[in-house]
Structure formats: structure tokens, C-alpha cells
Symmetry: C2
Subunit: 324 residues, 2 copies
């Protein structure tokens, strides 16, 4: 078994040594930039840890793991354009630092760098791994499409919202875990269980993310809370609140949402008060809790000795155990 | 041997039956649109014809051929954004008909639809075909990058220009022909020859395209000539003219290029006059002729009976025999 640090180190070296066509330095510079701005390398780490559950050679999953991380960063570059975001993890987004065209094109080339990495999966599993990757990548695009459409709609159902975050966020974590399992030589059943583990973990994570925006301790959250409220983002809380609120409370919530001019701090305080009165925190925690229960239920069924599961258990717990 | 009509029909049905995630109709609608706006299906046809050189089952190359066409259209959607183009083959571009975000995202999903198609190559050749595809797709991105950079530079050398069009246009034709050959079971040598055939054909085509913009008969060219001159596009003619012109002629050419206000028709007429006096038409024809000679030289060496080569010979001749 490799330690988390060893696997993190492996991922870091893998990303540093990415295969790059260097005939156009300016094409690749933004690729290096977005990858260096970093994040926690959650996806490749999960891929390697999942592989290491079933095999003592997790390095066989390294290049596909890097491919999944490159794909994730590809979506960040293009999503940031679509969302008109100026900062990503505290750094200027690619289209801000360079320009729109560069962000489109350097994003595009990342899709092919990701392909190149995925293609380096071991021969016996490469087609299966690539099919899974491709289906997942398509689903992530569909998720982004639904996200954009829902932002323009006055009303979204809880079911629609949950399916959207499943596609946009959860299936990629699921695919990472399943990719590792396939390359590690797991049974089909275990590969399927790992997929469900990742999917439910991703859903729990996203539901918690919505909650954290409203209820996090700003110090440990790392950014100002209430951003989703100010921008009327259709989070789980807003969707359920609009579904649950009645009479005067519903009227006030709708007023707050449709107001064109408002004091942000007051809006956040008032909306939070309505959420409190409707019990939205508890409800969201229950929904997240359900996904967490399911996730670990699936993981528990994976036919591998408990001590091998330690790395992933810790990583997963850390992911969903963020401070409220 | 299949006839050109049979192969064209095969391509048409392949595109109509493309695998699509239909959970987000609006994501796929622009994909169908750009593919239906059409073009001549040159790339998939070349792929199938090349396969049919070596094998009696060109349909084995159908899905990869479609994948190459989807990739080509992916680049069109994103290039049209970058070039701020309003029309493509006489129809509104995707970002005009929908919007920027839709063009980015529907473009992105095409990259994964292309992957899906390429993955359907026969098992024994799928990895080789995918590696070639991926290398080519990356090169096309590099070509677009160089194109964007060169447009901002005051001066580009002929060598730089030729390398740029090789990457942006020629390598994809080369990859189509090589893909067909690989799937058809050709020798490595023949696959390499087909690649060089396609590359040189693509270069000849692009050089001729530059020529046609200035010297085509507007009736058969289908669009107004002189567009490249008006926009100061760095074509072969302009690059060589700037290299060759001297004294007063050079000064006048530079004035024409840098003028902010001008009568387009007069600019076209004057620049064309300079091109004429410098013998640019003849020079470009010579360069195109050299590539054509090389292309058919490589094709000639392919170890296949002459009568099997008929389809591709006709297609290639049609491609470079457009009316001046």
C-alpha cells in the first residue's frame, strides 16, 4: 500500500511531466498555468487510491488519473468563460489573464492532452477506461448545459437540480474511482460499487457546498459566505425554500430574489432568516447525510480488506467533513 | 470496390445515426446544425476511399471517418468564434445563431462525440488510429494558435506560413488517408505514403485557396474575390509580395496594407496589380504545382493496383482542379 503522500507525489510528478506539443509555447502556457494553480488533485488521488485498493501497482493508473485531472481543468477553463468568472482558486481565470480566444483554444488542446493520457492505460483495460471517460466527459458537458439553462429558468425542481449536479460534478468522481478499480483489476461488481461510492460522495459534497455558502464559518470556508444568495444561484436551499415557503414568507422570498437593487448584506441576512425558519439547514444536512450513508454503504460492500480502504476512507471523510 | 456515390451515401447515413446523449437537446442541436450545413464530406470520403484501396470492407472505417468529420466541424465551431465569423458556408455560424456559450459547449461535446466514433475502429487498429487522431487534433490546435499569432505580427516568413497551413489544414487530410489505410490493413510503408499524399494535397489545396481569393472567376468561386486582400490576411501571395517587392512598389504595398480608410474595390485592384507585376500568380501556381507533384508521386508509390486508385485520383484531382 502506498501512503497518501507517496501517491500525491506521484501525481505531482505526473503532471509536471505531461506530454506536450511544444511547437506553440503560447498554446501550452495557459495549460501549465491552470494546472499549477492547482487545487487538491482530488481526482487523480482518488483514481490512484482506488487502483491501490485492488492492486499493488497504482502507478499503472497514473496517466489515466492525470488525464482525468487535465479533463477537469479543461472544464474549468471553459466554464469560467461561460460563467464570466474572474477568479479561480484566487487566481485570475485563463480568459482574464490571457483572452477569450486563448482560453477557448488552450482549453481545447487540453481535451486532446487528456485523451493522450487516458490512452496510456494498460492495454488490457484501455478501451474500457476510455469508453467510461468519454461517456463521463459527455455527461459533464450535459451537466454544464443544464446548469446554464436552469440559471435562466424561474423555477427548477429538486429532482432536476440533483440530476444536474450529478452530471456536472458527481459522475467525474465516480469515473475516477471506477477507472482506478478497472485498472487495478477489480471485479465488475466492485468497479460498479466504486462508481456508486464516488457518485454519492460527489452529490453529498455538492449539497454540502450549497450549505457552506450560507452557513460556513467564513474563516475556515476561505471565502465570503452568502455569494449564492446574492447572485440568486439556484442552490438546493433556494429550490427547496421556494417549494416549501407559503404566504407572506414566500412573497418576501420572491421579492428578495427579484429585487434589482438591494443591500447585499441585508439580502443575505433576510434570506438566511427565511431558510432558518423553513428548516433548510436541517433538510439539506439530511439530504447530504443520505448520500453520505449511501456512499459509504457501497464502499463497505467492496470486497477488499478493511485496512486497504484506509486511504480512501480518510480522503472521503475529509471531503465531506468540512467545517460548518 | 465501392463507388463514390455508395461511399457518400454511407457517410450520410453514418452522420445521421451519430451516437448522441439526448438528455440535453439544446446541447446537441447546434451539433446537428453544423453537421447538416454540411460541406462536401471530403474527410470521411477520403478515409473510406483510402480504406477501400486496401480492403473490400471500407465500412469498417466508417465510424472513425465520421469521427474525423465531427472533429473537423468542432474546429469550425470554435474557429468561427475566434475569427469572429458570421457566416459559414453561407449559413449563420453557431455562435451567431445561438450564442458564445452555446458555441463553446456544443463545440466541446463534439470533441467527445468524435472520440466515441474513433473508438469504434476495429479492435486490432483502434489504438494506432486513436494515437494518430490525437496527435493530429493537437497539431490542428497548434496550427490555429500560430494562425492567430501570425495575424498579429507585422511579418511572417514563407516557411512559417507553410508550416502553419500544414498544421491547420493539411495534417487532417493526411490523417484521414492514413486512418483509412491502417484500418484497411495496409503495410506501414503504404500508410506512411498515404499520409504524405494527403499532407501535400492539403498544402496544394491551401495555396490554391489563397490564389483563388485573388484570381478566381467570382461566378464559379461562389464568393466575392479579394476578401483576403481587404482584410490583409497573411496569404502566400502577400507574404511573398512583401518579400519580393522593392522601392516604390514595396512602399505602395505597405501603404495599402496600413491604410485605415480605403475603398475596398480600389485596394483589391491596386494590390492585385502589384501581385501581377511581381509575378505572384505564377509563383503561387509553381508552389502549388510542386506540392501536387509530390502528392501524386507518393500516391503513385502505394503498392495497390491502379484501377483501385481511381476513386481517390478523381477526388484529389477535383480538389485541386478548381477553376481559376
Amino acid at each position: 500500500m502506498y501512503s497518501r503522500e507517496e501517491l500525491t507525489d506521484l501525481v505531482g510528478r505526473g503532471i509536471a511531466g505531461l506530454p506536450c506539443n511544444n511547437e506553440a509555447e503560447r498554446l501550452i502556457e495557459p495549460v501549465r498555468y491552470i494546472l499549477s494553480v492547482g487545487g487538491k488533485r482530488l481526482r487523480p488521488l482518488m483514481t490512484l487510491m482506488s487502483c491501490n485498493l485492488f492492486s499493488d501497482r497504482p502507478e499503472e493508473a497514473l496517466m489515466p488519473a492525470i488525464g482525468l485531472e487535465v479533463f477537469h481543468n479543461f472544464t474549468l477553463v471553459h466554464d469560467d468563460i461561460m460563467d464570466n468568472a474572474h477568479l479561480r482558486r484566487g487566481y485570475p481565470t485563463v480568459h482574464e489573464k490571457w483572452n477569450l480566444n486563448q482560453a477557448i483554444l488552450s482549453g481545447d488542446v487540453m481535451a486532446f492532452i487528456a485523451n493522450e493520457c487516458i490512452l496510456q492505460a494498460p492495454q488490457e483495460s484501455v478501451i474500457r477506461v476510455f469508453r467510461l471517460y468519454n461517456r463521463t466527459a459527455t455527461e459533464v458537458c450535459v451537466g454544464q448545459q443544464l446548469d446554464m439553462e436552469y440559471e435562466r429558468r424561474p423555477y427548477v425542481t429538486l429532482q432536476e437540480y440533483l440530476r444536474m449536479i450529478e452530471l456536472k460534478t458527481a459522475v467525474l468522481l465516480a469515473a475516477c474511482l471506477k477507472t482506478g478499480a478497472i485498472i487495478g483489476g477489480s471485479s465488475d461488481r466492485d468497479a460498479g460499487l466504486m462508481y456508486e461510492f464516488g457518485k454519492n460522495l460527489g452529490l453529498a459534497f455538492q449539497v454540502q457546498d450549497d450549505l457552506l455558502d450560507v452557513y460556513a464559518d467564513p474563516g475556515s470556508f476561505g471565502k465570503k459566505t452568502g455569494g449564492d444568495i446574492v447572485s440568486n444561484k439556484k442552490t438546493l436551499l433556494l429550490i427547496k425554500a421556494l417549494e416549501t415557503a407559503q404566504g407572506e414568507e414566500l412573497k418576501r422570498l420572491q421579492e428578495l430574489i427579484s429585487a434589482r437593487e438591494f443591500d447585499p448584506d441585508q439580502k443575505v441576512a433576510e434570506v438566511r432568516e427565511i431558510y432558518d425558519s423553513l428548516g433548510m439547514k436541517k433538510l439539506s444536512e439530511e439530504i447530504a447525510g443520505e448520500y453520505i450513508g449511501k456512499a459509504f454503504g457501497y464502499f463497505n460492500e467492496v470486497a477488499v480488506k478493511t485496512d486497504r480502504k484506509e486511504n480512501l476512507l480518510q480522503l472521503a471523510s475529509g471531503l465531506i467533513g468540512r467545517n460548518m
